[in-house]
């Protein structure tokens, strides 16, 4: 008893001042979540530094009439001239139209190919492992390497594509792939589809493997044929995965820069100039940082709207 009496008073006075010193008792149940915030803080600060701060600078710059800028330089007067110029610029609307066309064409083609190949390699057959490898291969090839390969395939004078078309008798003369607006758009779209469809394929495959086999067995008992099983079981069960995949694919097409820049630079006659290419050109070729920031901000808003619409829609239409 005596021992207890002597130990207890000596323990309490030592620990109490320590708590008061830090002012934060993370052991208390009501404050345990604070530890989570503390652990997250470095990551949040880093993200704020490398994403939110530049975003803020970009938005701020879009409301200034600036060319080349220097960090820390005095702020120019507030103006909406960049947005006014943007709205009245045919070049901007052309870039919006090209971006939209590219999104529609590339996303649809990626989904048709991706879902098709995903379904194919989900079946059991000899050489399935190799087939899966080939389906995923374009995804693994670095983008810049893929673009250089396609640049040579579509080369107007010495490319494989022209040789192939002439040998097949599809054309009489060579196609100037990067000097003709329609051909250039097609070349860019094909390259993007080749690079982008494996992602859809991999996501589809992952989604297919999570569908319980019982669903198909029950459908077979009810006499459903393959097409009915696909429409009524596979597709609805894949919808959550496909919805997210579609958003990611659209955002990828929106953002992609290197494929277009290396293949066509946005030409000819701006036929492949998307909003990302326009932003880059205005900033680093024409040194119009304010105007480029305005294009960037509009692109960001469009991306947010598109992803919000897609995520909302796919979430509602699942089960």
């Amino acid at each position: 008893m005596n021992q207890h009496r002597t130990i207890a008073p000596s323990f309490t006075p030592r620990s109490a001042p320590a708590r008061r010193t830090f002012g934060l008792d993370l052991a208390r149940p009501s404050r345990r979540h604070w530890l989570g915030y503390l652990l997250l803080a470095p990551a949040v600060l880093l993200i704020a530094l490398i994403i939110i701060y530049p975003l803020f600078v970009s938005v701020d710059m879009s409301f200034q009439n600036v060319g080349l800028v220097r960090l820390g330089a005095p702020r120019r007067p507030f103006t909406t001239i960049n947005y006014e110029r943007l709205i009245t610029s045919p070049e901007f609307w052309m870039a919006c139209w090209v971006t939209f066309k590219l999104i529609v064409v590339v996303t649809i083609a990626c989904f048709v190919l991706g879902v098709g190949t995903g379904l194919l390699v989900n079946n059991k057959f000899r050489g399935r492992a190799i087939a899966r490898l080939f389906v995923a291969l374009p995804w693994a090839v670095p983008e810049i390497v893929a673009v250089v390969i396609f640049a040579w395939i579509f080369d107007s004078s010495f490319g494989l594509m022209n040789w192939f078309f002439i040998k097949l008798g599809l054309v009489n003369t060579t196609i100037n792939w990067f000097s003709d607006p329609t051909a250039a758009f097609a070349a860019v779209a094909v390259t993007m589809v080749w690079k982008g469809y494996p992602f859809v394929s991999i996501m589809t495959l992952a989604g297919l493997q999570s569908i319980p086999e019982d669903f198909y067995n029950a459908a077979r008992v009810d006499g459903a044929n393959a097409w009915q099983r696909f429409i009524n079981i596979t597709l609805p069960c894949l919808m959550p995965v496909l919805g997210v995949t579609m958003v990611l694919t659209i955002l990828w097409v929106f953002r992609d820069f290197s494929i277009i820049y290396v293949l066509t630079g946005g030409g000819p006659l701006r036929a492949t100039q998307t909003l990302s290419i326009m932003t880059y050109e205005q900033a680093f070729s024409f040194f119009k940082m304010g105007y480029a920031s305005a294009v960037g901000v509009v692109t960001l808003i469009l991306c947010v709207i598109a992803s919000r619409l897609m995520v909302g829609r796919s979430a509602e239409s699942i089960y």
């Binding site: 060319g67 080349l68 800028v69 220097r70 960090l71 820390g72 080369d155 107007s156 004078s157 010495f158 022209n162 040789w163 002439i166 009489n172 003369t173 060579t174 100037n176 792939w177 990067f178 000097s179 003709d180 607006p181 066509t264 630079g265 030409g267 000819p268 006659l269 701006r270 050109e281 680093f284 070729s285 024409f286 040194f287």
Partner: protein, 430 residues
Amino acid sequence: MAFNGMKRWAVGAVAATALMAGSGLGFMSQAFAADKVLKFVSWQKDERGVGDWWASIIKEFEAKHPGVKIEWTKVERGAFADTMTTLFAGGTPPDIVHLASFEFQKFADNGWLADLDPFIKKSKLDLNNWAGQEKCKWDGETVCIMMLYYGGIMAYNEDMLKKAGVSVPKNWDEFIEVVRKTTKDTNGDGIMDQFGTGHETKGGGGQYLAEMISYLLDAKASFTDAKGNVTIDTPQMVEGLRRWKTVVKENLTPRDLSAGEVRQLFADGRIAIRIDGPWLYPIIEKAKPEVRPNLKLAAPPFNPPLGGTSNVLGIASEVSPENQQLAWDFIAIATSDQFQSTFATLASSTPPSPRADVTEAKKTTPHFDLLIETQKAAAKAGVDRIPVGLEIQFNEFAKMIKEESERMIIEDLDPAQVAKTMQAKAEAMK
């Protein structure tokens, strides 16, 4: 247990020491050895000839300035403008500023390049008759030193010309006849695989403009006059555009290739004539053994010949006065008679200095007289692809010229109509 623990500790200590010796200590020793580091960013670091010349200047500078090191970084030409803009915008510009002659104006206009006049005066550097130096004046101040003003050369494949039964062209009419006769489908697969000439028709506006300018100059056309007034809508420009359209529309040049690819095709024996700057020669030298003897050089068939400013050196205005002085010392070495002479030998190019001794270069580069001749002819005619009065808007202007020229070719437009459109758009840019 204790022994194992000690062993682990010892191994860890050795590893840490090795790491420190490899990286940390290495860095520290460098920092102690060099009290000061000057930053120099260039796209020419790995270029054969000219890269060696820059290396020799750095060596000389470091020998003359013990304790000062030059940190020489290579940035690809394609990403150079972006990188330099970012460095300046972030407040960390290189001390020695290397820029292309068509891009320094934006930096100077922004006040990012120091006035070199006090340094020039103090060091008594004579820039009279320095080729292209007048282009380095900005708002009455000398903001850079011209490092190359070149004259164009015509390289041709003698064997191709012989087989086509034509001789080396001396004017536009002969040139177009030669390129038409040498453009062929040699293996009969329905695809042209040999071209009369070669031009970059892909890529940036600046290079596109450089490719077409020979035809415009020969037709006596210019984008602006000496006062900076736009002079595109003229019969001379219409004729120049018609010539460019003929060459591209008739597929007398391979399409959609970069200038580098075109040069390589010439070296591979697939192009009969290539009009280019002095940098074509090192590529010719590396041609296949069976092609190399056929590749010859001559004066371009156009008058005035292709030519113009290439690149400049300057000093960042916001670095410390001490660093500015050191950067000037670097420029002083590069512009000295001795190093202007070695520029001719190492880079096989015409140095801008009139005092450079090119005797050695004439021995090592057989066509050096031709380079001097075309450089002088181009300089005399004031040839430059950067139009007076449109220096700041050059990239935008070049893009516009490229687009309208492409439209002329794709939509088969009348060059007269295209010249009118270009005139209106160029005037709107000013």
